[in-house]
């Protein structure tokens, strides 16, 4: 009886551990371009966590890790729009349920509830996470001045791609 109990305990705790998946090399990109201006940036050092037991899902990215083609655009992004010194990170915390990621998205210090289509596939012991969703830029308190309003999309298309590995 006691032996069984111990075995069950160990099994329980190990499963609790091994259900967690993590990566620090997730690819997160956004496209806020318009016919007038090509505005695209990608970060290859976003992090993502997923707990298969509870369905909890989290994604985080450092604003300064976004790479733009043009240095000046990157500077303006950090300085004038994302205000990366004040708000260094953007993140999602929530759950993955029924093909959707449901939870809170925080950008520019503003948190909003979202539910967006998301895909998690298992492959060779790793999980592939894919999500693509629009983000209304101004609803996160990021002001777009009238002079450049035609050049920047109202909604940025965000794409997340990650390969999560099981935590040891």
């Amino acid at each position: 009886m006691k032996k069984l109990f111990t075995v069950a305990l160990i099994a329980l705790t190990t499963t609790a551990f091994s259900q967690q998946y993590l990566t620090r090399e997730a690819t997160l990109s956004f496209d806020a371009g318009s016919p007038l201006e090509d505005i695209y940036a990608v970060s290859e050092s976003a992090s993502a966590v997923y707990d298969a037991a509870t369905g909890k899902l989290g994604v985080q990215v450092l604003m300064t890790s976004f790479q733009f083609k043009r240095a000046l655009m990157q500077e303006h992004f950090n300085e004038n729009y994302a205000e990366s010194e004040k708000f260094p990170k953007a993140q999602f915390t929530g759950v993955f349920k029924g093909g959707e990621a449901i939870g809170q998205l925080t950008i520019h210090g503003e948190t909003k509830d979202i539910a967006v289509p998301c895909e998690i596939l298992e492959a060779d012991g790793t999980l592939l996470l894919n999500a693509e969703f629009p983000v209304d830029i101004e609803s996160f308190g990021i002001a777009i001045p009238g002079a450049v309003a035609d050049k920047i999309a109202k909604e940025a298309k965000v794409q997340v791609k990650a390969t999560l590995k099981k935590r040891a």
């Binding site: 109990f5 967690q20 985080q60 000046l72 300085e79 001045p145």
Partner: protein
């Protein structure tokens, strides 16, 4: 309950608690550790006003700067159509060879000076995992006076040359306040008399204070080691205050200063205008960048 039983119960409770703790910490796992970041946008432009800032255009960026200094308030201001009739102009074209190295040429109407410069960001301020408190940019320009001499002497080409070298220490204190301190040397190949120094030392102080994301106040002052020459010329320390307005690829800098020359040695070392006489000039620098190479 035997000792063993209670031990197991306790262990079980502890372990499940631990597991639960793990659970809540799931989101802590994704916290990205601090990285070292280069401080960006210490200044909006490559100049504070007349003084150089620590900034250079990025790699593959061609920058065109057009600057005007309008006529002085003390010089028949209305007759000269608010100083427009006697405006000085400077055009500058420069290119970012790398993110740190910048070269360019310029032409200023005052004394018909053509110049070439090189600017290099030796050290960059960083924050995050590794803090480095300031940036250091080196700047050097060679200036050729194109204006004819009226002293009747046949001058060598070398007489027409003057130089400016400086080390620009810059720090962005927070997102609003940035300051520069730039010890500089101005060297003239030709000075009025044998007892006049060919080289003068200067200390530039400059800063900007951001009011909004796209609007900033700027100011600068330039102290020089010698403003009196043997031929009776008396010069004054130049200063300027202004605003920076940034819109996408442009930076507009509007300002008021007591100098209307724009080539480095002229505005720094031989500025004849005393602000107390009302010799103040409105002016602007407008820069436009073109990304030549992505």
């Amino acid at each position: 309950m035997t000792f063993k039983q209670s031990f197991f119960l306790g262990a079980f409770a502890l372990l499940t608690l631990n597991a639960a703790g793990q659970e809540d910490d799931l989101f802590a796992l994704m916290d990205i550790p601090e990285t070292t970041e280069f401080t960006y946008a210490t200044f909006k432009g490559t100049r504070v006003i007349n003084a150089q800032s620590n900034e250079t255009p990025g790699e593959g960026v061609l920058q065109y700067v057009i600057s005007h200094r309008f006529g002085s308030f003390s010089n028949d201001y209305l007759y000269n159509f608010f100083g427009l009739d006697n405006a000085q102009i400077r055009m500058q074209l420069d290119y970012g060879i790398t993110d740190r190295l910048n070269v360019g040429v310029g032409r200023s109407s005052f004394n018909k000076v053509a110049d070439a410069f090189i600017k290099y960001r030796l050290l960059r301020q960083t924050t995050g995992a590794k803090d480095f408190p300031f940036g250091l940019t080196l700047y050097s320009s060679t200036n050729y006076r194109g204006a004819r001499y009226t002293d009747g002497i046949d001058h060598f080409i070398s007489d027409r040359l003057s130089f400016h070298h400086q080390a620009i220490f810059a720090r962005k204190f927070d997102e609003s306040l940035s300051l520069i301190v730039a010890p500089s040397i101005v060297h003239w190949n030709l000075v009025p008399g044998p007892n006049d120094p060919n080289s003068t030392f200067h200390l530039q102080l400059g800063g900007r204070y951001k009011l909004t994301n796209r609007l900033a106040l700027t100011g600068e002052y330039n102290y020089g080691s010698n403003y009196e020459y043997s031929d009776g010329q008396r010069f004054y320390a130049p200063f300027a205050i202004g605003v920076d307005l940034e819109t996408g690829g442009h930076v507009f800098q509007f300002h008021i200063s007591n100098t209307n020359a724009m080539s480095d040695p002229l505005w720094m070392a031989t500025n004849p205008y005393n602000p107390l006489d009302g010799s103040l000039f409105l002016g602007f620098n407008i820069s436009r960048v073109f990304t030549i190479q992505d």
